[in-house]
Symmetry: D2
Subunit: 386 residues, 4 copies
């Protein structure tokens, strides 16, 4: 170990104590890179202060994990494994966080929680020096096993940090869950992570916070449009003749991808639009039941091509973006809570939680975006397609 | 005018109302660029959450200016000029804010508040459409005239925003001044901006907040070291054979300068050190009275060369950085406050304020930085030089 | 008018500006009394910091009303009437706010929003000097007419203040609604107060905040037990031979009722229990569907008598309290929101809101409380009764 | 032990964990009484939300003490003694906290930190059951010995709680010290409590916070006037024929003293003035150097009598109050801080701290208060006296 203990100031958790082992992990290039990956991708185009990064979020997740481990009385190598997994859980993120992960994963064949190939080099050296297996850490990051649930699962400390942190930096008041209480109420029943007796309400509040943050922040239409533009540009960068390999994109930070998009002829225009916030506008914004039956089964690229063709010569094919949003995964509905001494699934004991599934379906929208000057043509041409 | 009114969410001021004119200014490339210029430069290497930008700060300054204008009853074109100046006051900032402004100014011959050459193109179009003179706005940004004091002066709304905002994003509690009250207490006496009767305490608190934030955040030694490394690398980038022109650097954002430094052979190593937080260490850290008489008059570059030479072959000349920090300008000491019906200078009515000058001198340090492995040699060789 | 403008510091809204008219109202004995009426009654026995009063809440409601009036462009005498009603809306509250209002209303025949008899004396003098009719103000407090909806209704500024204020003082994070936005989005359609387009989410958040605060704070079982004890003691004080008249109780503040209960022989024991937090415990705590059919129709006093009698000599009749909680009135479900240009009722456009009715029914509990030493007997004897 | 562990929600420290021993202490009548003693006395007449009590403050002090003890590694009976002392340190406070303590102490002969006679009955039983000596606890409350410094001294956890708590409840932003950091930096050198290396700045900030809170909150002229009125009325209550014994007043809570003052003929008028905020006004408000030499040596009561007599028949003797404020004790100036490995006194290493003494002297004011209608007469008559 080369570092000694340190206390890091954090606006969400006040002081985060990190010991030498955690500091050594923090000092690896893989972790330092996260200082340059915005937590919420392009959401800063809606909430100007949303510039926080995966780095401080990772520190926050580490802090909550340590408090949970203290409370659960976990010691020894298992404790070190969980601490490492909490700190490292986001090293697999692409630049701009979730914004471009689909397109990169498609080309690279790795999800952002498949980090086994990233826990090498300096990270592996630090882990092994401490007697911690990189493979075990990678499996915890994927949410496997007893303690994997703490890192990635229905009651993981990841969401307990990001909801509060995103609220702090956007100024939106809906994410203010009681993370202090949640972490103290965690326990295990039959190997499963549960919230102890008397916490149905606490768990509902967690889910509600996320339900409120979703339309307001995470799925705000301007965030979705800018994400779609960034994703499409990144795809074109990867597929261009003088492009950039997907596995290289995966390891870039926000600076590098931003500049790469600005410098390539194919993507320059979109990059400038993002830089100057001249975003595409919505030509279509429909709930599920207003779509044709065939739309959701179709290949979005083919829909784009067809809409662009019908729109005539003034609209270039790449200027039509079809955005089929994935429904939010509501992992919390399956959180386990102890009720009258028995372990129950949250959605079985809370009608509020069952409703939230329906609410999310009602809020879901299918979008087609295009430059402002082409909106009218695309509205008309999309009419016959989606 | 192309935009209609809008309310922007801000974690510091809650909701910021911007009308069409302000929105049109916000939508210019000059303002959008500030989304990618960190407010505190490299301070995020000390405070991980300090990733806020000049963009949201500019919005906050605008918001406070509008509240002050409301309270002062300023209307018509003067009001529009001040609003524009408040919003645009930072368009002249280099990437990483203050970090590299000296070196750029030296080459370009413009200070960051000399923005007349920047208020052209799209910005000029928007201003003139509104009947606002870009020259008048530029003069307000320089702090000239009756209302220029609101934008840049001892009681400007700039500092009322940044102290609170920096506190919010770093988590350091010292900057929490009562900006709401300050703005309501502003008035004019004989053309000078003053705080009304009963506000000596309020003004002292403003100055104290800055005095506490200085050593804790703005002049933290890690912030100074990383700034010095960034500044030196930028200088070498500008002066390199295949370098980048200073006037081009001036208009870059953080992404572009970061990548430019990483891609140039001369600066790559420093850029990687900054990316991975492998920072230089202090070899010398001295108060003024422990320095030789000649040190402060000497050219820092010559001191560096001499120290490096004495240190022997293992230390390359560019690996020694001499950092002569400028003392903080304590503009607030000259703030005007009404006491018993008379306009007084703050430092004349407050012994606390007079003391702060001395405090700042005591806190001042002269630094010499070098890579960790060279610290011992440089400690020795500097002994005979500074 | 005898007062001049003033700014009052408030931890929720920062600075509250009050002009001479509002200050004159504030200075009446009726308003000053509210400084000694706790906003949340006995909830401080659960949340030790919940000692805020109806006074600062009234100021907060006034502040939000003024912002709404500014935004709606209401001027002249109507504006003054609404301002007065916002400030005075709680002068009819009994000591300990809602805790004992039922028992007092039963005897006095006035609800806490029937304030016409209270707007006399000093208050009437101030209102009339300003040309404001006390009767008009009383009718606004009852929620009547176009602007009465602002003061008391589904979207009133009352709830926008108390949710945030109760969250601030208890430390419970669930009440943090975006009151700043709500107030800016209010408008009128066909004489009805509505939230403008795009605010279904905002309205849902308001209702959710209240739904979360209810079980956590307002209906916490310790708050319910202490309220029931206080209410029963007050009833016995009113009905005692050497008791206190209900109309006198109505105008007491918390100090006076507390001491009156401590000094009367009939109520001394309960008063001491409340002072030392030796509270009754739950003997019965049942959802609706576990009760006998007859229970909810029965007179609670007769149930108490029967349970006490069956419990035998060790339990005195007044030591059994049956607590039939009223379901929370969910006024917000009927809030009007503009959706696609049409005025709609919130519960018609939000399945989330419809669910909350069911949630509240599930959370509802019927309670029987008794001193700790009698719990076992009362559990048994209540078995055959409720 | 009769209680089991519990977590109490607190708006300042979030969750406060209290174990069975601490809960048993909390449940004593002596501690529960503090729920009805306002922390800041009559300051709620200036800051309407300043209704927090000694009870939640005591919990906060307990919380910080436990964190300090954890960090210092103190265990066993010494730990229990300090925990008890932290929780119980304020049981000796009179109603309205500091407001009337002088007058009560004068009659009772006990200071508010002489609590040995209060640690009897239920408190003694709980302490002794745990093997903790009430005498030892009383000595820690007086600040004696190694660990007494934690409870009462230049770096005690008392001030670390109240500054933050008073800021939270008043809304005044100046008290936001970094209590989390302070508590982590405490240590012992030669038996003396010190702040570790690198904390001069932290200690300065603590002192500055108090220096800013003083004129703004604690010594605000309205707080001083209402305190003086309350104190004088309490004195008259104690000295009246049908009065209340001082030792009885000492154990009252705010409710009881308030009602006692309202019910006694001698004090009723002042009590009503306080209830309706019809406060005396300043007739004299002078810095030290504008006073006659003899004034500060004179008996305030004699000054009052003389001023009243000169003012003529319209001014009753008890309507003139002379208020000789004690200078604030600036204990923090003597705080020990480690600088370059050596233990130093804060004022020896900080010129800022030395200045604050002078600042406090400049801010000091001598006051004479009287009803509004007598101000003119008293201004004139005081002219020749003080």
């Amino acid at each position: 170990m080369t570092n000694t203990d340190k206390t890091i100031k954090d606006p969400v958790h006040d002081h985060i104590h990190v010991d030498g082992f955690a500091l050594d992990l923090l000092d690896t290039p893989e972790m330092q890179r996260l200082r340059h990956v915005r937590q919420l991708g392009t959401a800063y185009l809606v909430y100007p202060s949303a510039n926080h990064t995966r780095f401080e979020h990772s520190l926050g997740v580490y802090h909550l994990a340590v408090r949970a481990l203290d409370n659960l009385g976990v010691t020894g190598v298992e404790r070190d494994e969980v601490r490492a997994a909490a700190l490292l859980h986001d090293v697999g993120h692409t630049p701009f966080s979730h914004n471009i992960e689909d397109i990169v994963e498609e080309h690279v064949g790795k999800r952002h929680d498949e980090v086994d190939d990233l826990l090498d080099g300096e990270v592996a050296r630090v882990l092994e020096e401490r007697g911690v297996s990189p493979d075990r850490v990678a499996s915890l990051v994927r949410g496997e096993g007893r303690y994997g649930q703490l890192v990635s699962g229905a009651l993981d400390v990841d969401r307990m940090d990001y909801l509060v942190r995103d609220a702090h930096h956007t100024g939106v008041p809906y994410g203010t869950i009681d993370s202090g209480r949640l972490v103290l109420e965690l326990g295990y029943v039959d190997g499963e992570l549960v919230l102890g007796e008397g916490n149905v309400q606490t768990a509902e509040a967690l889910l509600l916070a996320r339900s409120l943050m979703h339309p307001t922040v995470y799925s705000h239409h301007v965030a979705r449009i800018s994400t779609a533009m960034l994703e499409r540009a990144t795809q074109r960068l990867i597929e261009a003749d003088n492009g950039v390999d997907a596995s290289e994109v995966r390891r870039m930070d926000d600076h590098e991808l931003t500049v790469a998009l600005r410098e390539n002829d194919v993507t320059r225009e979109t990059a400038e639009r993002l830089a100057e916030r001249r975003l595409y506008k919505r030509a279509v914004w429909k709930p599920r039941d207003e779509l044709r039956d065939s739309t959701l089964d179709a290949d979005p690229r083919e829909l784009e091509a067809e809409i662009a063709e019908r729109a005539g010569d003034s609209v270039e094919p790449h200027e039509v973006i079809v955005d089929v949003s994935k429904p939010p995964v509501m992992a919390e509905t399956e959180a386990r809570v102890v009720v009258d001494g028995e372990k129950r699934m949250l959605e079985d004991v809370s009608s509020l939680v069952r409703t939230l599934r329906r609410v999310h379906e009602e809020q879901w929208r299918f979008g087609v975006y295009t430059p402002e000057e082409s909106v009218e043509e695309v509205v008309d041409s999309a009419e016959g397609v989606v």
